[in-house]
């Protein structure tokens, strides 16, 4: 379309044309709606603020029970969710019923009860196999659905975009054209829902989709009001293909098994007594090969983590080799909410915690803070904080704590000489150990001789505020820097 066309004319043009285009049969607009979400992320660099709002639009999959399935990324930090009927253009406000960031998936529900029943709900398809052709659904500007065939090339366990979890993923290939409102797209097979496209790279024409077992597991979890849905065992492993390694471990040449290289000290595997150096040879009767795969009845070799992440939360027998002895332990995998981490892998939909004292701004370390450094945050964010986040299990094996740090200083009469300090971990305040912002808040209530004494991990190692002065400068500080609230703990 000519971009110089005045908007009014453009509208007339479209309105004039639409009767001529083949009006879709009501039965054909099966199971898809437009979902428009206005999000406003919290600003982790100025934790008392939100960033500018932004609106994104996606195609949602209509399920029975007045529900629409979209990606979690779409609804993250939402202020307002709206569903639009593709044919009538009728709109309804909606609420987010459930969201799971591990699986990047969410359910939204229109507030108008009469809204969705007029659209036929999608059933869940059986699992597709590699080589199958499936359809991604977008909307033309006319509102009619556009279906693009994509070929399923690979089924594997891979990283999902928000959390640090790896789940079963569909990799697809095909030429997906650009259309507005394509932030996430349902993937259909013979009119049934088989996945949700969450990433597309136009250069390689490769798309990644949430797989149907993940969708099923999510819906089952929502049905029983689970808070976390995808269980983990808390174990990392390495392949044992190397014959020199096998010989050292005392493994027979033809046999399978992977070497346990890391145990989450507070995870289910640790509780079950699995140790670093054990060789994991089978899970629930499924033989594990030398690369850590089991034989999936439909997809062939699939990573053992799929066995765990799709399991119900019940005891699973793990067979191990330890010093040549076979051993069976019972592991009960469970989901790990991000708040259980020392440095949480993500924090969406909730405001960052912080505390401002006399101009010193304190926060708790999390990957959401580090992500403020943009797409290559894992290289550009402050190195010391990246290191603490990446190696948190190694550095704080005792767990059950947060990492509190001085994120920056708002210059005030109380912070003279401290203006350039930033990204310094707080170890003790007024003689008390600091393992969370609550600890800091409590410590600040007990100044020593009228001073707030902060001990930091890194130069200059110690700074001091005058308690009375800090309080005196606070109103002006709040006014000057727009700090609406002094703390959110």
């Amino acid at each position: 379309m000519n971009p110089r066309l005045p908007p009014l004319l453009a509208a007339l043009f479209l309105v004039g044309l639409s009767p001529l285009s083949a009006a879709p049969e009501p039965s054909e607009t099966t199971g898809v709606v437009k979902v428009r979400v206005t999000s406003q992320a919290h600003d982790f660099l100025r934790p008392w603020l939100k960033k500018a709002p932004a609106t994104r639009e996606a195609v949602g999959a209509v399920l029975s029970g007045n529900r629409v399935l979209v990606t979690a990324e779409l609804v993250a930090n939402h202020n307002f969710v709206e569903i639009e009927h593709p044919d009538s253009g009728e709109k309804s406000a909606a609420i987010v019923r459930a969201v799971d960031y591990d699986a990047n998936i969410a359910l939204v529900e229109p507030s108008g009860k009469s809204f969705l029943p007029r659209i036929r709900a999608l059933a869940l398809a059986d699992e597709p196999g590699t080589g199958d052709t499936v359809q991604a659904v977008q909307f033309e500007s006319t509102g009619s659905p556009m279906r693009t065939p994509l070929t399923l090339t690979t089924v594997e366990v891979g990283p999902y975009p928000v959390s640090d979890m790896a789940l079963l993923l569909y990799r697809l290939s095909g030429s997906l054209q650009y259309r507005d409102g394509s932030f996430a797209l349902p993937l259909l097979s013979e009119g049934k829902l088989v996945g949700i496209v969450m990433r597309y790279d136009p250069r390689t024409q490769a798309a990644d989709a949430i797989s149907s077992p993940v969708i099923r597991k999510f819906l089952a979890g929502v049905a029983r009001n689970a808070t976390g849905i995808f269980p983990r065992a808390g174990v990392a492993y390495a392949p044992t293909r190397d014959p020199q390694l096998r010989k050292f471990l005392g493994l027979e040449n033809g046999a399978g098994g992977v070497l346990v290289t890391f145990i989450d000290p507070r995870g289910p595997a640790a509780e079950a007594g699995i140790e670093k150096g054990d060789v994991l040879v089978d899970i629930q009767g499924e033989r594990i090969d030398q690369d850590g795969n089991f034989a999936h009845p439909r997809h062939g070799r699939i990573s053992l983590s799929h066995l765990i992440s799709t399991a119900d939360e019940k005891e699973m027998p793990f067979r191990l080799l330890r010093n040549g002895e076979s051993k069976i332990v019972s592991v009960k995998p469970r989901p790990r909410p991000p708040t259980e981490s020392i440095s949480p892998p993500h924090q969406l939909d909730s405001a960052p915690r912080y505390l401002v004292s006399g101009g010193l701004v304190f926060q708790e370390l999390g990957r959401q803070f580090l992500r403020e450094w943009g797409a290559s945050w894992d290289k550009r964010a402050p190195q010391r904080l990246l290191y603490l986040d990446r190696f948190q299990h190694e550095l704080y094996p005792e767990g059950n704590r947060r990492i509190v740090f001085l994120s920056h200083v708002l210059p005030s009469p109380a912070t003279i000489g401290y203006e350039h300090l930033s990204q310094l971990v707080v170890t003790r305040v007024n003689g008390r150990d600091i393992r969370s912002l609550e600890d800091l808040d409590a410590a600040l209530a007990a100044p020593v001789d009228g001073f707030q004494k902060f001990e930091l991990d890194g130069e200059p190692h110690q700074i001091v505020l005058d308690q009375a002065e800090a309080e005196k400068v606070t109103p002006a500080l709040q006014r000057h820097y727009g700090v609406t609230e002094l703390k959110r703990v």
């Binding site: 020199q244 050292f248 130069e459 190692h461 001091v464 005058d466």
Partner: protein, 496 residues
């Protein structure tokens, strides 16, 4: 502390051009002042630059041109970077077709200065030694002599003294000393040339910014730094600069001053860290307030007054030598006391300095290449791995050097059937081999020399051990040696 200051290396461009400059004979400009013409030396060098990616080879050779000048005692002074890694030095002087072979007698990489010895004493016939002056005042005019790009003959440029300040000396990349900024053009080939005022040397031209960073900013090494170098070598050896090896924090905050029991007199800085094994280890403590250094009151912004100028506190130490004492007046736990430290070099921070005049050190075992983590390693391999970068950057501040004086990295795996499953582990830091903690490259070599049945190599943060059977490694050794042309499985000595 100063040894940690990170500024943009400015010499890089200069150095490249310097080495790329042609080595044609020249005749001095007859209009140049007669005194300088009979003191100036053109230094032709052929250097061999080591290759840290293939540490077993000699490296590529490169020719270059710099300047130098004659000083008292039939000696020639130039920049360290002009003659670093040099294998062949030939000097030229004005109106003389001969090439005079020379050798490096003393070299100070931390001060970018070198002293050359000419093999044939007849070189000095008709040459006049230049004398040193002091620090030229700001806005006074100076002349720079040398052989910069743009022609073959002597070039003279003139400018004013723009700034006198501490600067990073980019030749080592880890040392900051006093430097004088001038607005005369200093270009590749000027390096090592004298900067004169009223017939006396007031500096040695040494570095500048490349034109796309800043214009008309050249730097010279001032005479206090040159004099210190000449004094240091009087005993026949160059000992390097000494360092307090402490961290300190200006005490500008009134509340912090009061909490430390200090008066509002604007004096004193807080000692925030005393580096173990450094000069002040056992003398100063974290939490001490430095009130005076060698009788000079330390202002709360860490400046002291020296010969009528306000300079940063470490300037006091800049003029001292290995083994010299330095005395502090400190406030500790509310009471004042006087303590004395004996100065030494900050060896633990040398991971940050570039290496020169040494062959790269390594151990190769079954195609696994082990190298020490240092600046050359970082600049050669440019690792993106967070653990390596962190270990390099925090080597001094996190006391890593106490635990591992030399961090050894599995830098590369040269593909061979013996190591085909180990390719992905390149870039890991070696923790132990056969349960021996690796605290240096020599530990790796020692395990190899024991000829164990197998090597169990454990990398930091990696739960999977790297296993190499000795027989398999032996069998692969000759194959790898000939395929990859590795003449020796190791070089442990930091020598040429």
């Amino acid at each position: 502390m100063r040894t940690h200051s990170r500024r943009i290396p400015v010499l890089a461009a200069l150095l490249c051009c310097l080495l790329a400059a042609g080595a044609e004979p020249s005749r001095a400009d007859s209009t140049a002042p007669i005194r300088v013409r009979t003191s100036l030396v053109r230094v032709n060098t052929t250097a061999v630059l080591p290759d840290y990616r293939m540490p077993w080879i000699a490296g590529r050779s490169a020719g270059g041109v710099g300047a130098g000048f004659v000083i008292a005692g039939n000696r020639v002074i130039t920049n360290a970077h002009v003659v670093s890694n040099a294998r062949f030095l030939a000097l030229e002087k004005d109106g003389d077709p001969n090439r005079w072979l020379a050798d490096v007698k003393f070299i100070a990489h931390d001060a970018d200065l070198a002293l050359l010895e000419v093999r044939d004493p007849r070189f000095f016939e008709g040459m006049q030694a230049l004398e040193f002056g002091g620090i030229p005042p700001l806005d006074s005019t100076v002349s720079v002599y040398g052989y910069p790009i743009g022609g073959e003959r002597l070039s003279i440029t003139r400018g004013v003294v723009s700034r006198i300040d501490f600067q990073l000396y980019s030749h080592s990349g880890a040392d900051s000393h006093l430097a004088i900024q001038i607005d005369a053009a200093i270009n590749p080939g000027n390096s090592g040339g004298p900067v004169l005022q009223a017939g006396k040397v007031v500096g040695v031209a040494f570095q500048g910014y490349s034109g796309d960073v800043a214009q008309n900013t050249g730097y010279m090494i001032p005479t206090p730094v040159v004099r210190r170098f000449l004094k240091d070598i009087e005993d026949g050896a160059y000992d390097r600069y000494v360092d307090l090896a402490i961290g300190y924090f200006p005490l500008l905050n009134p509340a912090q001053r009061r909490s430390l029991g200090l008066a509002a007199n604007g004096h004193g800085v807080l000692v925030t860290r005393v580096y173990p094994q450094g000069s002040c280890d056992g003398v100063l403590e974290k939490g001490d307030v430095l009130i005076e250094i060698d009788g000079h009151p330390v202002a709360s912004d860490s400046f002291v007054e020296l010969e009528g100028e306000r300079v940063e506190m470490p300037e006091i130490v800049e003029r001292k030598f290995l083994g010299d004492p330095v005395t502090f007046r400190i406030l500790r736990n509310g009471s004042e006391k006087t303590v004395t430290a004996t100065l030494k070099s900050a060896a633990s921070f040398m991971i940050n300095a570039r290496n020169y005049d040494v062959r790269p050190r390594y151990v190769a075992l079954a195609g696994l290449l082990f190298q020490p983590l240092d600046r050359e390693f970082i600049e050669t391999w440019r690792p993106e791995d967070l653990r390596i970068r962190y270990t390099f950057d925090e080597f001094a501040s996190d006391d890593i050097y106490l635990d591992r004086p030399e961090v050894v990295v599995l830098s590369a795996v040269l593909p061979d059937p013996v190591n085909t499953f180990l390719a992905g582990f390149a870039g890991g830091i070696v923790d132990t081999i056969n349960d021996r903690k690796i605290r240096g490259l020599a530990d790796v070599a020692a395990v190899v020399d024991e000829k164990p049945e197998r090597y169990i190599i454990r990398l930091l943060g990696e739960g999977r051990p790297l296993v190499l059977e000795h027989t398999a490694a032996e069998e692969a050794a000759a194959r790898i040696r000939s395929r990859y042309q590795i003449p020796s499985d190791r070089n442990l000595e930091a020598t040429r």
